[in-house]
Symmetry: C2
């Protein structure tokens, strides 16, 4: 079994529509927990739990001033996931590029062998005539 790593929590945090909607709302600016909870048909406690998951995943941070807890997006919070995905896409595309080169080489070799085969056929035909 491989070890659990922080990136697991980040991916898991985004695997839930309410949490993605909370991030969506926070792209417009910081908001209090009660304002964030308003559009959702769930208890405040459930929203708080979702916010805690987002905070553990490094996407938001929250600050309590007096009785109000305000949440905001963490700058650079998406970087670990975006970087992980970008690196794998690059490896994948490099492989597809290599495959493309191999196919092109194969096709070129085939054309060469076809054009090398042609005179032979002509020679044979001439020999028959």
């Amino acid at each position: 079994m491989l070890k659990h790593s922080p990136i697991d929590d980040s991916f898991r945090a985004l695997a839930e529509p309410t949490r993605r909607a909370l991030i969506e709302r926070l792209t417009q600016g910081p908001a209090s927990v009660s304002d964030l909870a308003k559009p959702f048909a769930m208890t405040l406690a459930a929203v708080v739990q979702h916010l805690q998951v987002l905070e553990a995943g490094g996407f938001i941070r929250s600050e309590k001033i007096g009785r109000v807890r305000t949440c905001r997006l963490e700058q650079g919070g998406f970087a670990p996931l975006a970087n992980w995905i970008a690196a794998r896409r690059m490896l994948m595309e490099r492989r597809f590029d290599r495959l493309g080169v191999l196919l092109a080489e194969e096709e070129a070799a085939e054309q060469v062998s076809r054009s090398a085969a042609k005179p032979k056929k002509q020679r044979r035909r001439r020999a028959k005539e």
Copy 2:
């Protein structure tokens, strides 16, 4: 409660170190299920289950020829996640840019009011002399 969407499965699929390691292996090229399972200290059934999650998430596809099931990365499999993240980052950065502009404007206004205040002080000083 918001509706579950396919992107939930994609994020959840990557939230597990074994599944990310399987993707890592497949960036090098297609592989049979038994070859993919070799480096992991788990049953073949457990690896098959992880591969099914990756297939449901749109990251890989598999094909059975005879008795061998071969898996390969799905081209464009990362696109939905990468696009979702990129769009939120753009919104976020746009907001930080706007904040930057506001702060710069505020600073400029402060400098204007400071330089407007200076002559006043000089006038006062002159009046005292």
